[in-house]
Symmetry: C2
Subunit: 265 residues, 2 copies
Amino acid sequence: MKDMNSEIKEYYELLIMNYELIDSYPFYVEPFHVDFTGRIFLGVLGNHMLNAAGNHSQKRGWGISALNETKHTWVISRLCIEMMEMPRQYEHCEVRTWVKSVMRYFTNRNFSIHRADGTPLGYARSVWAMIDLETRKPCDLLSLYDGDILNYVVPEEENICPIEGHGRFRFQDPKLVRTIDTYYSDVDINGHINSIKYIEHILDLFPRERFEKQSVRRFEIAYKAESYLGDRLSFYEQPVSDDETDIEVRKNEGEVVCHAKVYFK
Amino acid sequence: MKDMNSEIKEYYELLIMNYELIDSYPFYVEPFHVDFTGRIFLGVLGNHMLNAAGNHSQKRGWGISALNETKHTWVISRLCIEMMEMPRQYEHCEVRTWVKSVMRYFTNRNFSIHRADGTPLGYARSVWAMIDLETRKPCDLLSLYDGDILNYVVPEEENICPIEGHGRFRFQDPKLVRTIDTYYSDVDINGHINSIKYIEHILDLFPRERFEKQSVRRFEIAYKAESYLGDRLSFYEQPVSDDETDIEVRKNEGEVVCHAKVYFK
C-alpha cells in the first residue's frame, strides 16, 4: 500500500506533467470577430486553435521555424470542431491543446475550448502530417529527432475530447452551388489559400435564415490539395439530412481541394 | 523662475496626464494575419486600431455599451492610415490612440503604430460621429454628458501624427471593375457589412503583381452609408496617377457606400 507522501508526490508529478503537456491559449472575443448573432465566427475560432497549436509545438522544439531549419513543415490534414456553445462578444476564453497520439505519418492533436472560468464550450480534433519541404513527401515522425515527439503525448486519461472522430464523405451527386475567384486577402505567407478562408467561404454558402434559426453544431474539414492566389474555387453541395450538408471544393473545375461537413442544430 | 522641484512635479503631472489620455493597445502579428509578403494585412491592422479605439473610449465612460444605455452609438466616418513600414509576421507591436479634437458633430481620433521597442511604423487619423440610435441623427458631442469628452483631448504638443489629413475625392469617370455579393462572413453584429471588410474587398481589386512589386503606403476610406448582408457591392476604379487609385463602392447599383484612395509605393 502506498503511503500518504508518495501519493501526494505522484499527484504533484501528474500536475507538473500535465502542465508541460497541455497548453492554454487565452483569447478575447473581439467585436469584429462575431457574426450577426453576436457569437464568434467559426473561422476566427479555428484561427485561435491553429495559433494555440503553433505555440504548443514551438515551445517543445517542434514549431515551424525550428522545422524549417531541417527543411520540414507541418501540414494540417483534417480538422473537426464541435461546439455546445459558441463564445459571445466580449467573452474571455481559452483554447487548450495537446498531442493525443503519434503514428508514423500522422499525429492527432486535440483541443478543448473553455470560458475563462473553465466551463467547457466545445472540443476539436485535428490530424497533421510532417512533410519534407523539398520532396513534399511525408516524413516518419517516429524517427525524426529520435522520436522526441513521443515525449509530448498526453496519457489517455488526460485526453478529454468527448466528440466523435472524423467522419466519412460519400459524394454521389453533389450540385455546383457557387464559383468564386480568389484574391490577395485569401492567401497566406506561402501563397496558399489559407485553411481558415476555406471555412469562411464554406459557411458563406448558407443563407442568412439558416444562421438566424440555427447555429453550427459541428464542422469537419479534410484538406486534400493546396490552391493558390487566382485559382477559381467551385463549391458543390450534397445535403445528407436537414441539418447535415457535405461540401466539396474543387479548384479550376478540376482537382478536389477539400471536403467539409457542416452540421447545424 | 521655476524651481527644480516644481519642474519635476510638472514633468510627472504631464506623464500621468498622458498616461490617462493616450492608450496603448499591444498586438502580436499572427501567422494567418499576414499576406504573401509576410506583412500584416491592412484590414487586420485596421481591426487592431478599431479595438484600440473601442478600449480607449470604454475606459473613459464613452464605450459603445455605456452609450447604448442612453441610445447612442459611435459611427466611423473616415479613416486614413499611412505606414512607413508594415509589421512582419511574429512581431510584437502596439497601437497608440488618443482624441485629437472634438467639434459639435465630429471627433478626430488619431493613432500611431509602433514596434514593441517604440519605433514608429506609421500613423492614422479617423473621424467619428455620435448618433442617436432611434433617430439615426448626429448628436451634439459638446453638450452630451456635460461636455465630458473635452476632458480627453490631448494637448496639441502631444498629438504626434505627422501625416496629411483626409483627402478629397473627385470622381469623374470611374470604371466598374468588379461586382460581388455579400455573405454571412461580411457582416458584423448589427448586420452591417463591417468597416474592415470594405478594406479587404478594396485591396482585393489589385492584382498579385501589384503586391509583389509594391506595398500600400497610404489608405483612405470615407464611409457614406451602411450596406447589409445580401447587398450587391459594385466597385468603380479611377486611376489618379501610377501609384494612386480612387475607388467608389456602390450598393445594388445605386447608393454610394464608401469612397477610398489607395496609394502604393
